[in-house]
Symmetry: C3
Subunit: 469 residues, 3 copies
């Protein structure tokens, strides 16, 4: 198994074994920093940050310099040719012909995948909108593992903005894959998105138990839980009687409390008016006195605003500055692996990652498009060359996952593209809720956003064209 | 002949022989990239980009890093001391005392010349307004030569924005000097500027044939020509009977089609309103099916917007990503030559560049100024130290070329500064159209923008002061 | 004595002997530039510029590259996590865990001290608002010393914006410490701030003679003096009869004329309207013909605007481009010392710096705050963790100096925090002008901005609560 020339766009691009090998290398590197200078001698990293960043960008650039490599960077979308209307693909192809590796942060979800598709060199996603931020997760998992030796079986609470926080999304997947139990405590209206929950429950095999509609079982101070993800490696009783068990479990303490800031820059004006900021949960000395948090690691991807009080900075449980500092050796290890200047060795049997489900793919020029306005595939400059593409993650109800931003779509109409003697056998369209959704082979499926669109393409309604039929 | 310590402000700063030597070094370097690391060990490049850029800036910085040198950069005019009202000359002097070589992009035409005049170190023009972009031309010529072995005798079509495109201006000169035939196909209202045409016809010795006013001889689809530049090395019959010959010639195919984007950032609001964008020529699969383009290299300096369809990206004739990638070895060779870390060897007999015409120079504190509002010599911060300076490129009609932006001026009034016994012999001013323009020696010439200006300086109208007299 | 791991926030962070050792190393380094490459091999400088800069930033980055080190940089506050509301302390801690040394420029006064307090690595202040710019002063002193062999006993005129010019403030301290006589010639309304004058007279032991209210003794052309700082090492007669003596002294010539630009970016709209720019003093050829300036070094920290005419650039007395160029070896020496890659040797007896006065410190969560709106301690993002802190520099009238921005406060009310049997002995507050100010021990002092604030904290007015009592 080799990491050289691969990209890291989402956490799932690395197997558990690869992540563990990466952590070993990070350990080794942080213990002998001076000896690493020269590992990437003569190599060039392009550091492209089209959203504000200090920490992540400087951490990657530091990693490259510590390895003895060079950095070229673009830090402001207004100062680049994207301001002239250039597409991400063109930029990726050109920069890929200059640099040996590309680190990209971009406000559009799925942008990093496009860069990886076109650059021809390894690409690292340093955050794409609210989608993923996999290297933050590597730093987070590395910190937990360093402090607690393992991740398996730990109880990790995620706290704050679970909706827009890309670091939270990636971390959720990472924790699930390594067998942690995850406690969700969102700010008001900032619950985990549907598509993240689906991935959790269908791909990592655990169970999600929600509390919102229930009679506040564990909805108590100081920890008003919204939901809990129970890993498949959990003891049976917890999986079967979660309400009772979690109360028992919580008494033994939370292993880590992962706090995030409110992503003001992604909030609507309405949410801002509603004073979301005021009701956002805050971690301070008082909270940390609760017995559940006695031995809890307090983590934060930084920057913080008001959700994490300065008074806990000196507390030995506070991990956030260590998390940040560990970003350097973790990114050094990652860069060295992707550039192939360090060999990775992963024993197959040691690799416990749950294999990905092989969903059928839907990809057509016309018809359904991703409805996420921040998805790269829907941007004016990118539609010139990006064909909408989805994984069919469920057929009842018909559910598509955009391959770029991973948001879900629930289309209303379908048809078949099966040909017979040079013409479409049947130019009828049906409701996606009808039995036709299962009868048409995935490779023949045509999916429409609306009846009018189906009709523009020459399809007529079948008996099964009414929604819900 | 040595390139060390010289600057590259316009294409004509390099002889043909030097350009060929540079291409040989670029070939050598791209064949042994790893060995180049260290060639510029300990050297520092200042990369100053006061206009948006990804490609050019990252390409220069990559080149320097591949040579083992270091880079300091300033990428945003708002973040520099120019924002405090500093002049370009002061900035050049200071940065020139830090770095070993300066790469400058600036929106003002002639800015790179000012930097070269004051920096005290080699300066490379990476684009100054709509004036020149000589290193883009080096990449373009290098690509043509690599694909076709020679430039001499090729038929190259320039397509799109010929008015504001600095890459086009520099390329036009380069192609003319290397003996290509150039076919011009501008967007509406985007014809080659007068001063570029003059340079073509007076300095590179060829002939320009225009078609606009004619009975549309070769104004046919798919190639509605506006003008054609016929190189002096052309066979006689083409030069003598261009209309007929070009039709014959075109049938044998165009060697390269050089497409450019519409420079929206340099267009007036009026041009934008007139929907220039809609009538701009587009290169797509359909066009490339025409027999003239069967073996045509499709080139573009990038970034593209809509003028070059993504559907031709995979076509083997498409050269634009190769052009971009070749920017690195070409710029490596250039930087190494200018820093003197690689010796250049040019045989004099091999150097076919047509020698420059030695025009008389006009330079005075008062009187005529360059009328180009984007010329560096007319900017408030620069007039404190820049004295207007022109080459007298023609005396009938009197025509001056600004030494900074190379735009032309056609002044109306003149006088003589000849002194006799301590006073001006004759304090009269004349129309520039009168015979006095030829009678006054260039070193005594005083040129005025207007009658009132002449009179402010104590001159009175002569009998020959009326325009057209 | 060692410089390694120390920070340079204000000029007084270095002793005179250390400054002289630094100048010797700068001399040595500028004489053998090529040999310095590698001195900081593998080290990383973070270059954080949250205000426009070309010169200082590029000079530091050049210095690091010439030493063979690497640079990570952030040049625009909008492109960093500060834009997300992060505090300076958090940023400092994180960047300090990446880089080996930090160079910071920031618009808030005292920001560099905060960075130094939290970073855990050496920090260099590259300008914090109108406070200090100590490395500019090092370049200035180095230039004077190189041209005149000594600073002691020289007559240096400071010219222009003495109010907002941070370079002027630092230079004033530096010159005073090295025994120069300083002549102040401010622009209208741009006199030296009170807190700078106090430091001059109380800490460097000299005497300040002001001319403004007098019958214009030396208020004559070309040198309308505002004030003169007479160094304690001056001959007695000058100190005793300054008016007469300075006229005699001036005839022997000014050694250096240090000109500064008007800091437009720090001016109020009102000052701009009042046409401050028009009445600002200008140095030109005519002025330099005066006999006082016959052998005067003309200095300027650059960038200049209109206060220094281009016509004197070629004059051998003009030092400003040399000043800028010398910034590189001076900063190389400083960086190498702070990183400990060069050892410093300072003989104690050779160190003539006047020892600092050990003022009592006042530090409380509540009560008096720094009134300077540009002080870092009063910014919304920073008050979360910065406790107001002052030096008590005088008790009559009670005068506090903010430890961050060094501005002065003259508080109106005081109380005592002396405890007796678990309660405050006396919950009365008094006028700061009363005898209580001297009676309460500094460690017990509580200082209030206003009566209402005192009363909020449960204090009642004493008989001595009226101001001026």
């Amino acid at each position: 198994m080799a990491l050289a020339n691969r990209s890291l766009v989402i956490v799932d691009d690395l197997s558990n074994g690869e992540i563990e090998a990466l952590f070993s290398l990070a350990d080794e590197m942080s213990g002998s920093m001076d000896e690493q200078f020269g590992v990437c001698h003569g190599k060039i990293m392009a550091s492209l940050f089209f959203e504000p960043s200090t920490r992540t960008r400087l951490s990657f650039e530091t990693a490259m310099h510590r390895l003895g490599g060079s950095v070229i960077s673009a830090v402001d979308v207004r100062a680049t040719s994207l301001a002239k209307g250039e597409s991400i693909a063109d930029m990726a192809r050109v920069v890929g012909s200059y640099a040996d590796i590309i680190v990209i942060r971009h406000p559009w979800e799925g942008a990093a995948k496009v860069v990886a598709d076109y650059a021809g060199v390894p690409v690292i996603n340093a955050g794409d909108g609210s989608h993923e931020h996999p290297t933050q997760t590597l730093c987070d998992l590395y910190t937990i593992r360093k402090e607690r030796q393992t991740i398996k079986g730990l109880k990790i609470a995620l706290w704050g903005d679970l909706k827009y926080g890309r670091a939270i999304h990636s971390l959720t997947y990472g924790l699930a894959r390594f067998g942690a139990t995850i406690l969700f405590r969102p700010g008001p209206g900032l619950e985990l998105p549907e598509h993240v929950i689906r991935k959790l429950t269908t791909e990592y095999g655990g169970e999600l138990k929600r509390y919102e509609a229930q009679d506040q079982p564990v909805k108590r101070e100081p920890f008003p839980l919204d939901a809990i993800y129970i890993t498949p490696s959990s003891p049976h009783q917890l999986a079967m009687m979660p309400d009772v068990s979690i109360q028992v479990e919580l008494k033994t303490g939370v292993d880590a409390l992962y706090v995030t800031r409110l992503q003001m820059e992604r909030l609507s004006a309405r949410a801002k008016r509603q004073g979301l900021k005021e009701s956002y949960p805050v971690v301070d000395k008082k909270l940390l006195k609760e017995k559940e948090f006695k031995r809890t690691l307090v983590m934060h991807p930084l920057p913080r605003i008001d959700e994490l009080a300065y008074e806990v900075d000196a507390d030995p449980r506070s991990m956030y500055f260590k998390q940040a500092a560990r970003g350097v050796p973790v990114r050094m290890a990652l860069v060295a692996f992707l550039l192939g200047t360090k060999e990775i060795s992963v024993s197959r049997e040691g690799d416990s990652f749950i294999p990905k489900i092989d969903y059928p793919v839907y990809r057509r020029d016309f018809g359904i498009r991703c409805p996420n306005p921040r998805c790269v595939s829907t941007q004016e400059t990118e539609t010139k060359y990006i064909k909408p593409e989805f994984k069919i993650v469920s057929s009842q109800p018909l559910t598509l996952r955009c391959v770029y931003c991973e948001h879900e779509v629930y289309p209303q109409y379908i048809a078949s593209s099966e040909w017979h003697d040079g013409t479409l056998e049947n130019k009828k369209y049906h409701s996606a809720a009808s039995h036709w959704t299962r009868r048409i082979k995935p490779e023949n499926l045509i999916i429409f956003d609306s009846q009018s669109e189906a009709e523009v393409h020459g399809f007529k309604p079948s008996h099964y064209a009414r929604v819900g039929h």
